[in-house]
């Protein structure tokens, strides 16, 4: 493990078995299928990709909110997947998560005051007066106020609930935050406040983020490196600027081209993908993207491409870029 990485993920797999009834074989969903990456201290690492590709599962597995099928996750050098429960529990204050679904992630019976005080109490941080000051500060930072303290989550809009979730995660000043679509439910004006907040907190406390999002303009703005996932696998990984300037995998190219324009006069060459994301319980053979890929070749239907470095930390798995000479010509034509 390199000195500078805070968290290192190796060959992580999370398979879900889905029962089909008594006499039918179980279906296996390979939600995360052999994923490896590492995140440097202070870095913001993005996971992007379509719904169901395994982003949230990856995040939850890192925090052991769900058990991995196999693989290794090292946090500050320690393999947390084999850590005893008590040690993991105390590590939790260093690793927090902001959830995607603001409705499900807040206890409807608790007031905002209770929701925000709970983590501070559980981890015995600050004196009671300091705790109150801290949670009021955090509330204001996320765009709410003291007057909301005694309300319950159901009295807030979806956007406001998400802000409460963010407040709850940052209130402990953790080292590492997994933010799962933290701003997706927010208004543009509040979204920018929250992104600024995340950037500020990062500078101040050297926070490291795993930032899960499908909003590519936000990812482009605030992250350092990006991994693109498709059906449980990383298909491309590169520095953020490099990825947006020079996407290699046809899926990444389509994804970036699908982002709405930022001005009505902008015209965009759009690669409109045909069809939906395939059923993850029954993924296509070969390259799992081949059913939607505009550049599909015969080989793609049977042979699974492996991740190959194509320059300075930029890796992708696509036969267009394998070492074969003839295919390299294709790669040049299509990229």
């Amino acid at each position: 493990m390199t000195e500078s990485s805070l968290i290192e993920v190796k060959n992580l797999k999370k398979y879900y078995e889905i029962s089909q009834g008594l006499f039918k074989p179980k279906l296996v969903v390979k939600a995360v299928d052999d994923v490896s990456f590492s995140i440097k201290r202070g870095e913001t690492f993005a996971l992007v990709g379509e719904s169901g590709c395994g982003k949230s599962t990856t995040g939850k597995t890192l925090l052991r909110l769900t058990d991995a099928t196999s693989g290794e996750v090292r946090f500050k050098g320690e393999d947390i997947l084999s850590l005893p429960y008590e040690k993991m529990r105390s590590l939790r204050k260093e690793m927090q998560m902001v959830f995607q679904d603001p409705y499900a992630s807040l206890n409807p019976k608790m007031t905002i005051r209770q929701i925000l005080l709970e983590p501070l109490r559980v981890h015995k941080k600050y004196s009671p007066e300091e705790r109150m000051k801290k949670i009021v500060d955090i509330l204001e930072i996320v765009g709410l106020s003291r007057s909301h303290l005694d309300r319950h989550p159901n009295e807030f809009s979806g956007g406001q609930r998400q802000r409460i979730g963010i407040a709850r995660a940052v209130v402990l000043n953790p080292d590492f935050i997994i933010a799962d679509e933290p701003v997706s439910a927010l208004d543009v004006s509040v979204q920018s406040q929250v992104i600024n907040l995340m950037l500020e907190l990062q500078k101040e406390f050297g926070l490291t983020y795993l930032f899960i999002s499908h909003d590519l303009s936000v990812v482009e703005h605030m992250t350092d490196r990006v991994a693109v996932m498709y059906l449980g696998k990383i298909v491309e990984l590169a520095d953020t600027e490099e990825l947006f300037a020079n996407p290699k995998h046809p899926y990444t190219q389509a994804l970036i081209s699908a982002v709405p324009v930022s001005h009505p006069k902008d015209v965009k060459e759009r690669i409109v993908l045909k069809g939906d994301v395939p059923n993850p319980a029954n993924p296509p053979s070969g390259c799992t993207f081949h059913t939607r890929c505009p550049f599909v070749m015969d080989k793609c239907k049977s042979v699974e491409p492996s991740l190959t470095e194509i320059g300075n930390g930029h890796i992708t798995s696509c036969h267009l870029y394998s070492k074969n000479k003839e295919e390299n010509i294709n790669a040049i034509i299509y990229s």
Partner: protein, 329 residues
């Protein structure tokens, strides 16, 4: 002059809550022309959904009340139609695609059964004709294997497919007005791109009018001819799409555009509008945006600005008073 399909005048809507009555819709004015796509953008809670529910006659009956103004559809006042009269319009002349796709499809009925319902209600068709119409519309929205899908239940479809079913449900009776409330917010960008493309194409074919509610300015830029901007229950700006992006007149709109990540240098602090939307009971006598506005001056706190017009470009901001006309660029 282009004909107007929908006209909303000075609409005010009240809700009864535990703590008394609130009025989240305080004065909504806009017109939607025939064949036009009008975007509605605005902060969460600004009243976009409530306004569209009012148009559809779907406000919760006991809890809410239209306290002022009127809604004209095809030059007919529909503000106080009763449920029976509304049922003739809804799903027929006007339909709506809702914010949450899952809640609007009934999980216990097949796709075919759900799509058959509005046809039974509004069109005199035989069973066979209905089935044909349903398959045709499903194919139009790009659903493969339409013949089989009509026997499937909603949970058997992916999110993108469900949203397509919603769209086909809304289009079934060829409505004159289609209201889309965040139709793609729950979808992936690649699927969003497909759906937006589809909606543009269908709109052009059927010459419908679209009221397109979204908080995504990028989607607005792609889809809309004109835009109304809502803030705290009012319309604060109305403009043609290019005009809105190039020359926003209301400080809230300008703030929104400036906060887009694409309008800020990478990794820089994003421009952001300070503070938060006032709650209905916090709105004083002045401009509802005054507490967050970087341009606010005395008058803004003292009295609420009326709507000023610069040609077709409307804005509710004292900066646009004729002797002032401040340029906020």
């Amino acid at each position: 002059m282009t004909e107007v399909l929908l006209e909303i005048k000075d609409l005010g809507i009240q809700f009864k809550t535990g703590e008394g009555a609130i009025q989240p819709i305080r004065g909504v004015n806009f017109t939607l022309k025939k064949g036009e796509t009008l975007g509605v953008v605005g902060e969460s809670g600004s009243g976009k959904s409530v306004t569209s529910l009012a148009v559809m006659g779907l406000l919760p009956e006991k809890k809410s009340k239209i306290v002022s103004g009127s809604i004209l559809f095809n030059n007919e006042d529909i503000t106080h139609l009763n449920e029976r009269q509304y049922r003739k319009l809804r799903g027929n002349e006007m339909s709506m695609i809702f914010q949450e796709p899952m809640t609007s499809l009934n999980p216990v009925f097949t796709i075919g059964e759900q799509l058959g319902e509005p046809l039974k209600q509004h069109k005199k068709m035989s069973k066979k004709e209905r089935k044909e119409a349903i398959i045709k519309i499903l194919k139009q929205v790009g659903i493969p294997r339409a013949e089989q899908i009509i026997n499937d239940y909603p949970h058997q479809l992916s999110g993108g497919m469900r949203q397509r079913v919603m769209i086909s449900l809304a289009l079934l009776c060829e409505p004159k007005l289609l209201i889309c409330d965040e139709p793609t917010t729950a979808l992936d960008v690649t699927i969003q791109a497909q759906i937006l493309e589809l909606m543009k194409q269908i709109k052009a074919e059927k010459n419908m009018s679209l009221l397109f509610i979204t908080h995504d300015l990028g989607v607005v830029a792609e889809m809309c001819d004109r835009v109304v901007v809502m803030y705290a229950g009012e319309i604060v700006e109305v403009a043609e799409i290019n005009e809105l992006f190039d020359n926003p007149l209301h400080p809230y709109t300008k703030g929104l555009i400036d906060s887009l990540p694409t309008n800020n240098a990478r990794k820089s602090k994003l421009y952001s509008i300070k503070g938060q939307v006032p709650k209905p009971d916090e709105i004083g006598k002045g401009c509802a945006f005054a507490n967050r506005c970087p341009y606010a001056f005395n008058k803004c706190v003292e009295s609420a600005p009326p709507t000023f017009s610069k040609g077709e470009h409307l804005s509710k901001c004292w900066l646009q008073e004729s002797d002032r006309q401040v340029n906020i660029q």
